[in-house]
Protein backbone atom coordinates (compact mmCIF):
# COMPACT_ATOMS: atom_id res chain seq x y z
CA UNK A 1 0.00 0.00 0.00
CA UNK A 2 2.84 2.36 0.89
CA UNK A 3 4.36 1.76 -2.53
CA UNK A 4 1.07 2.44 -4.22
CA UNK A 5 0.44 5.76 -2.47
CA UNK A 6 4.02 6.99 -2.80
CA UNK A 7 4.34 5.73 -6.38
CA UNK A 8 1.46 5.85 -8.89
CA UNK A 9 -0.88 7.84 -6.63
CA UNK A 10 1.77 10.49 -6.08
CA UNK A 11 2.34 10.76 -9.82
CA UNK A 12 -1.39 11.19 -10.43
CA UNK A 13 -1.67 13.78 -7.65
CA UNK A 14 1.29 15.93 -8.69
CA UNK A 15 0.38 15.52 -12.37
CA UNK A 16 -3.22 16.57 -11.81
CA UNK A 17 -2.08 19.51 -9.72
CA UNK A 18 0.45 20.85 -12.23
CA UNK A 19 -1.46 20.13 -15.45
CA UNK A 20 -4.76 21.11 -13.84
CA UNK A 21 -3.39 24.47 -12.76
CA UNK A 22 -1.91 25.17 -16.20
CA UNK A 23 -5.21 24.28 -17.90
CA UNK A 24 -7.10 26.39 -15.38
CA UNK A 25 -4.84 29.41 -15.94
CA UNK A 26 -4.91 29.15 -19.73
CA UNK A 27 -8.67 28.58 -19.90
CA UNK A 28 -9.31 31.55 -17.59
CA UNK A 29 -7.17 33.80 -19.76
CA UNK A 30 -8.95 32.54 -22.91
CA UNK A 31 -12.30 33.13 -21.23
CA UNK A 32 -11.28 36.66 -20.29
CA UNK A 33 -10.25 37.32 -23.90
CA UNK A 34 -13.70 36.19 -25.02
CA UNK A 35 -15.89 37.81 -22.40
CA UNK A 36 -13.98 40.85 -21.21
CA UNK A 37 -11.47 41.80 -23.84
CA UNK A 38 -11.17 45.32 -22.44
CA UNK A 39 -9.38 43.98 -19.37
CA UNK A 40 -6.24 43.44 -21.40
CA UNK A 41 -6.13 47.12 -22.47
CA UNK A 42 -5.83 48.19 -18.88
CA UNK A 43 -3.42 45.60 -17.57
CA UNK A 44 -0.49 47.43 -16.05
CA UNK A 45 2.57 45.68 -14.66
CA UNK A 46 3.36 48.35 -12.07
CA UNK A 47 -0.11 48.48 -10.59
CA UNK A 48 -0.38 44.69 -10.75
CA UNK A 49 2.81 44.15 -8.82
CA UNK A 50 1.95 46.79 -6.24
CA UNK A 51 -1.49 45.30 -5.68
CA UNK A 52 -0.08 41.78 -5.37
CA UNK A 53 2.70 42.95 -3.06
CA UNK A 54 0.45 44.82 -0.62
CA UNK A 55 -1.87 41.84 -0.43
CA UNK A 56 0.97 39.45 0.26
CA UNK A 57 2.42 41.30 3.25
CA UNK A 58 0.68 41.30 6.62
CA UNK A 59 -1.48 44.41 7.14
CA UNK A 60 -0.64 45.51 3.61
CA UNK A 61 -4.26 46.08 2.63
CA UNK A 62 -6.92 48.17 4.34
CA UNK A 63 -9.16 45.17 5.01
CA UNK A 64 -6.31 43.48 6.85
CA UNK A 65 -5.71 46.54 9.03
CA UNK A 66 -9.37 46.63 9.96
CA UNK A 67 -9.36 43.01 11.13
CA UNK A 68 -5.97 42.53 12.83
CA UNK A 69 -6.78 39.27 14.61
CA UNK A 70 -8.10 37.64 11.47
CA UNK A 71 -5.11 38.97 9.52
CA UNK A 72 -2.57 37.50 11.92
CA UNK A 73 -4.31 34.13 12.05
CA UNK A 74 -4.91 34.01 8.32
CA UNK A 75 -1.25 34.75 7.64
CA UNK A 76 -0.13 32.17 10.18
CA UNK A 77 -2.40 29.66 8.47
CA UNK A 78 -1.14 30.39 4.96
CA UNK A 79 2.53 30.63 5.86
CA UNK A 80 2.45 27.34 7.76
CA UNK A 81 0.36 25.68 5.07
CA UNK A 82 2.90 26.46 2.37
CA UNK A 83 6.19 26.25 4.22
CA UNK A 84 5.75 23.28 6.56
CA UNK A 85 5.41 20.56 3.91
CA UNK A 86 8.04 22.13 1.66
CA UNK A 87 10.72 22.53 4.32
CA UNK A 88 9.91 19.41 6.29
CA UNK A 89 12.95 17.22 6.84
CA UNK A 90 11.21 13.92 6.14
CA UNK A 91 9.68 15.22 2.89
CA UNK A 92 13.09 16.48 1.84
CA UNK A 93 14.63 13.10 2.47
CA UNK A 94 12.08 11.56 0.10
CA UNK A 95 12.80 14.17 -2.60
CA UNK A 96 16.50 13.57 -2.14
CA UNK A 97 16.21 9.80 -2.41
CA UNK A 98 13.93 9.82 -5.45
CA UNK A 99 15.23 12.80 -7.41
CA UNK A 100 18.48 13.82 -5.69
CA UNK A 101 17.16 17.29 -4.97
CA UNK A 102 17.74 18.90 -1.60
CA UNK A 103 17.00 22.28 -0.09
CA UNK A 104 16.75 23.92 3.33
CA UNK A 105 14.87 22.20 6.08
CA UNK A 106 13.46 23.35 9.39
CA UNK A 107 14.08 21.25 12.49
CA UNK A 108 11.51 18.61 13.33
CA UNK A 109 10.56 20.52 16.47
CA UNK A 110 9.93 23.75 14.54
CA UNK A 111 7.84 21.85 12.00
CA UNK A 112 5.89 20.35 14.88
CA UNK A 113 5.02 23.82 16.22
CA UNK A 114 4.17 25.07 12.73
CA UNK A 115 1.76 22.17 12.30
CA UNK A 116 0.09 23.01 15.60
CA UNK A 117 -0.19 26.66 14.56
CA UNK A 118 -1.80 25.57 11.30
CA UNK A 119 -4.31 23.26 12.99
CA UNK A 120 -5.13 25.96 15.56
CA UNK A 121 -5.63 28.65 12.94
CA UNK A 122 -7.78 26.30 10.85
CA UNK A 123 -9.98 25.80 13.90
CA UNK A 124 -10.24 29.58 14.23
CA UNK A 125 -11.28 29.83 10.57
CA UNK A 126 -14.01 27.26 11.15
CA UNK A 127 -15.28 28.95 14.32
CA UNK A 128 -15.22 32.31 12.55
CA UNK A 129 -17.49 30.93 9.83
CA UNK A 130 -19.92 29.76 12.50
CA UNK A 131 -20.01 32.74 14.86
CA UNK A 132 -19.46 35.73 12.61
CA UNK A 133 -22.83 36.59 10.96
CA UNK A 134 -21.39 38.29 7.88
CA UNK A 135 -19.23 35.26 7.14
CA UNK A 136 -21.87 32.70 8.07
CA UNK A 137 -24.28 34.09 5.51
CA UNK A 138 -21.85 33.35 2.66
CA UNK A 139 -20.73 29.99 4.06
CA UNK A 140 -21.87 26.65 2.69
CA UNK A 141 -20.80 23.08 3.42
CA UNK A 142 -18.35 23.45 0.52
CA UNK A 143 -16.27 25.91 2.56
CA UNK A 144 -15.96 23.52 5.48
CA UNK A 145 -15.02 20.69 3.14
CA UNK A 146 -12.24 22.81 1.67
CA UNK A 147 -10.86 23.69 5.10
CA UNK A 148 -11.01 19.99 5.95
CA UNK A 149 -9.16 19.04 2.75
CA UNK A 150 -6.45 21.61 3.44
CA UNK A 151 -6.07 20.72 7.12
CA UNK A 152 -6.32 16.92 6.94
CA UNK A 153 -2.72 16.39 5.77
CA UNK A 154 -1.51 18.37 8.78
CA UNK A 155 -3.64 16.59 11.34
CA UNK A 156 -2.65 13.19 9.97
CA UNK A 157 0.96 14.36 9.59
CA UNK A 158 1.00 15.38 13.24
CA UNK A 159 -0.40 12.00 14.26
CA UNK A 160 2.10 10.17 12.06
CA UNK A 161 5.06 12.17 13.38
CA UNK A 162 4.10 11.45 16.98
CA UNK A 163 3.22 7.87 16.04
CA UNK A 164 -0.14 7.95 17.71
CA UNK A 165 -2.59 5.19 16.81
CA UNK A 166 -1.47 2.66 14.22
CA UNK A 167 1.55 4.29 12.61
CA UNK A 168 1.48 2.68 9.16
CA UNK A 169 -2.26 3.23 8.69
CA UNK A 170 -2.00 6.88 9.77
CA UNK A 171 1.00 7.39 7.49
CA UNK A 172 -0.89 6.05 4.49
CA UNK A 173 -3.94 8.18 5.33
CA UNK A 174 -1.57 11.15 5.65
CA UNK A 175 -0.09 10.59 2.20
CA UNK A 176 -3.52 10.09 0.62
CA UNK A 177 -4.90 13.22 2.30
CA UNK A 178 -1.98 15.23 0.88
CA UNK A 179 -2.69 13.82 -2.56
CA UNK A 180 -6.39 14.61 -2.23
CA UNK A 181 -5.44 18.21 -1.43
CA UNK A 182 -3.15 18.47 -4.46
CA UNK A 183 -5.83 17.04 -6.75
CA UNK A 184 -8.49 19.31 -5.25
CA UNK A 185 -6.53 22.53 -5.84
CA UNK A 186 -7.22 22.98 -9.59
CA UNK A 187 -10.90 22.05 -9.27
CA UNK A 188 -11.85 24.12 -6.23
CA UNK A 189 -11.43 27.54 -4.64
CA UNK A 190 -8.11 26.27 -3.36
CA UNK A 191 -6.83 27.32 -6.78
CA UNK A 192 -6.63 30.84 -5.32
CA UNK A 193 -3.02 29.89 -4.57
CA UNK A 194 -2.40 30.75 -8.25
CA UNK A 195 -5.56 32.57 -9.35
CA UNK A 196 -4.95 35.12 -6.58
CA UNK A 197 -2.22 36.66 -8.73
CA UNK A 198 -4.57 37.02 -11.72
CA UNK A 199 -7.40 38.61 -9.80
CA UNK A 200 -5.13 40.98 -7.89
CA UNK A 201 -3.43 41.96 -11.12
CA UNK A 202 -6.82 42.57 -12.73
CA UNK A 203 -8.29 44.60 -9.87
CA UNK A 204 -5.02 46.43 -9.23
CA UNK A 205 -4.80 47.49 -12.87
CA UNK A 206 -8.48 48.24 -13.21
CA UNK A 207 -8.50 50.70 -10.31
CA UNK A 208 -4.91 51.84 -10.52
CA UNK A 209 -4.26 52.35 -14.19
CA UNK A 210 -7.72 53.74 -14.92
CA UNK A 211 -8.51 55.77 -11.80
CA UNK A 212 -5.19 56.02 -10.06
CA UNK A 213 -6.67 54.57 -6.88
CA UNK A 214 -5.07 52.04 -4.62
CA UNK A 215 -6.74 48.70 -4.03
CA UNK A 216 -5.02 47.89 -0.79
Amino acid sequence: MYDLVTGPFAWVAFGTFVIGMIVKLVSLIILARKKDKVVFDHLDLGWSIRSIFYWLIPFGSRGMRQKPVFTIISFAFHVCLLTTPIFLLSHNILWDEKWHITWWTVSERTADYMTLILIGSAMFLVIRRIVSPEVRIVTTAYDYILIAIATAPFITGYLAYHQWFDYKTILIIHIISGEVMLIAIPFTKLSHMVIFFLSRSHIGSEFGQRRGSKTW
Binding site: Y2, L89, D96, A160, Q163, Y167
Partner: protein, 145 residues
Protein backbone atom coordinates in the same frame (compact mmCIF):
# COMPACT_ATOMS: atom_id res chain seq x y z
CA UNK B 1 34.28 -48.05 25.42
CA UNK B 2 34.27 -48.27 21.69
CA UNK B 3 36.64 -46.16 19.72
CA UNK B 4 33.88 -44.33 17.81
CA UNK B 5 32.22 -43.36 21.05
CA UNK B 6 35.38 -41.69 22.32
CA UNK B 7 35.79 -39.81 19.07
CA UNK B 8 32.18 -38.63 19.32
CA UNK B 9 32.64 -37.39 22.89
CA UNK B 10 35.83 -35.59 21.99
CA UNK B 11 34.13 -34.00 18.99
CA UNK B 12 31.20 -32.83 21.12
CA UNK B 13 33.54 -31.40 23.76
CA UNK B 14 35.52 -29.50 21.14
CA UNK B 15 32.34 -28.14 19.56
CA UNK B 16 30.96 -26.94 22.89
CA UNK B 17 34.26 -25.25 23.76
CA UNK B 18 34.40 -23.54 20.41
CA UNK B 19 30.86 -22.22 20.82
CA UNK B 20 31.58 -21.08 24.36
CA UNK B 21 34.73 -19.29 23.24
CA UNK B 22 32.89 -17.74 20.29
CA UNK B 23 30.33 -16.37 22.68
CA UNK B 24 33.01 -14.81 24.85
CA UNK B 25 34.85 -13.24 21.96
CA UNK B 26 31.81 -12.25 19.95
CA UNK B 27 31.10 -8.52 20.13
CA UNK B 28 28.09 -7.48 22.10
CA UNK B 29 25.04 -7.18 19.92
CA UNK B 30 24.08 -3.69 18.86
CA UNK B 31 20.45 -2.63 19.10
CA UNK B 32 20.33 0.91 17.79
CA UNK B 33 22.21 2.76 15.10
CA UNK B 34 24.12 5.24 17.20
CA UNK B 35 26.72 7.78 16.19
CA UNK B 36 28.24 10.34 18.53
CA UNK B 37 27.95 12.98 15.80
CA UNK B 38 24.17 12.96 16.21
CA UNK B 39 24.35 13.63 19.91
CA UNK B 40 23.53 17.36 19.88
CA UNK B 41 21.67 17.28 16.61
CA UNK B 42 19.11 14.58 17.01
CA UNK B 43 15.94 15.02 14.98
CA UNK B 44 14.43 11.63 15.64
CA UNK B 45 15.08 8.73 17.99
CA UNK B 46 17.88 6.53 16.60
CA UNK B 47 16.95 3.69 14.28
CA UNK B 48 16.34 0.39 15.99
CA UNK B 49 18.78 -2.14 14.65
CA UNK B 50 19.31 -5.54 16.24
CA UNK B 51 22.64 -6.06 14.49
CA UNK B 52 23.05 -9.83 14.71
CA UNK B 53 19.40 -10.68 14.18
CA UNK B 54 19.27 -8.33 11.20
CA UNK B 55 22.29 -9.83 9.51
CA UNK B 56 21.04 -13.31 10.08
CA UNK B 57 17.69 -12.48 8.49
CA UNK B 58 19.24 -10.46 5.68
CA UNK B 59 21.87 -13.15 5.16
CA UNK B 60 24.73 -10.70 5.38
CA UNK B 61 27.95 -12.43 6.23
CA UNK B 62 30.63 -10.00 5.16
CA UNK B 63 31.15 -7.05 7.53
CA UNK B 64 32.24 -4.88 4.62
CA UNK B 65 28.77 -5.02 3.04
CA UNK B 66 27.88 -2.22 5.46
CA UNK B 67 31.22 -1.33 7.08
CA UNK B 68 32.81 -0.35 3.80
CA UNK B 69 36.02 1.51 3.09
CA UNK B 70 36.36 3.93 0.22
CA UNK B 71 39.50 5.45 -1.12
CA UNK B 72 39.53 8.10 -3.86
CA UNK B 73 35.91 7.35 -4.62
CA UNK B 74 36.54 3.65 -5.04
CA UNK B 75 35.45 0.90 -2.73
CA UNK B 76 38.18 -1.30 -1.40
CA UNK B 77 36.53 -4.72 -1.48
CA UNK B 78 39.04 -6.37 0.82
CA UNK B 79 38.84 -3.75 3.56
CA UNK B 80 36.22 -3.21 6.20
CA UNK B 81 35.68 -0.53 8.80
CA UNK B 82 33.89 -2.11 11.73
CA UNK B 83 34.85 -0.53 15.01
CA UNK B 84 35.02 2.85 13.34
CA UNK B 85 32.20 5.37 13.66
CA UNK B 86 30.51 6.18 10.37
CA UNK B 87 30.95 9.87 11.16
CA UNK B 88 34.70 9.52 10.86
CA UNK B 89 34.17 9.77 7.09
CA UNK B 90 30.53 10.84 6.77
CA UNK B 91 30.25 14.26 8.39
CA UNK B 92 26.95 15.89 9.35
CA UNK B 93 27.29 18.19 6.34
CA UNK B 94 28.60 17.04 2.98
CA UNK B 95 32.39 17.28 2.90
CA UNK B 96 34.75 16.46 0.05
CA UNK B 97 31.81 14.99 -1.81
CA UNK B 98 31.37 12.25 0.77
CA UNK B 99 27.67 11.82 1.42
CA UNK B 100 26.52 13.39 4.69
CA UNK B 101 25.95 11.17 7.71
CA UNK B 102 22.17 10.99 7.73
CA UNK B 103 22.02 10.35 4.02
CA UNK B 104 24.68 7.68 4.32
CA UNK B 105 22.59 5.86 6.92
CA UNK B 106 19.34 6.28 4.99
CA UNK B 107 20.90 5.11 1.75
CA UNK B 108 22.49 2.16 3.49
CA UNK B 109 19.37 0.98 5.32
CA UNK B 110 16.40 2.24 3.36
CA UNK B 111 18.23 2.00 0.06
CA UNK B 112 18.90 -1.69 0.59
CA UNK B 113 15.36 -2.34 1.81
CA UNK B 114 13.98 -0.63 -1.28
CA UNK B 115 16.28 -2.54 -3.58
CA UNK B 116 15.33 -5.84 -2.04
CA UNK B 117 11.70 -4.89 -2.37
CA UNK B 118 12.15 -4.47 -6.10
CA UNK B 119 13.88 -7.83 -6.18
CA UNK B 120 10.80 -9.19 -4.32
CA UNK B 121 12.86 -10.53 -1.47
CA UNK B 122 11.73 -10.30 2.10
CA UNK B 123 11.89 -6.65 2.93
CA UNK B 124 12.88 -4.46 5.81
CA UNK B 125 11.00 -1.30 6.81
CA UNK B 126 11.06 1.78 4.58
CA UNK B 127 8.84 4.31 6.38
CA UNK B 128 10.20 6.86 8.86
CA UNK B 129 8.47 5.64 11.98
CA UNK B 130 9.20 1.96 11.50
CA UNK B 131 12.93 2.51 12.01
CA UNK B 132 12.59 5.51 14.34
CA UNK B 133 9.84 4.42 16.72
CA UNK B 134 9.05 6.75 19.60
CA UNK B 135 7.45 4.33 21.96
CA UNK B 136 10.48 2.27 22.91
CA UNK B 137 12.43 2.88 26.11
CA UNK B 138 15.63 3.46 24.13
CA UNK B 139 13.94 6.15 22.05
CA UNK B 140 12.45 7.87 25.08
CA UNK B 141 15.73 7.88 26.97
CA UNK B 142 17.75 9.27 24.08
CA UNK B 143 15.28 11.95 23.12
CA UNK B 144 15.17 13.29 26.65
CA UNK B 145 18.86 14.08 27.03
Amino acid sequence: MRKERIILYVAITILISVFALMHVYAQEDVFVVEDSAFKDNRQRPPALFPHDEHNEKARIEECSVCHHVYQDGKRLPEESSEGQECSECHKLKRQDNVRPLMKAYHDMCRGCHQKRKVEAKKLGPVTCGECHPRKTEIAKGLMED
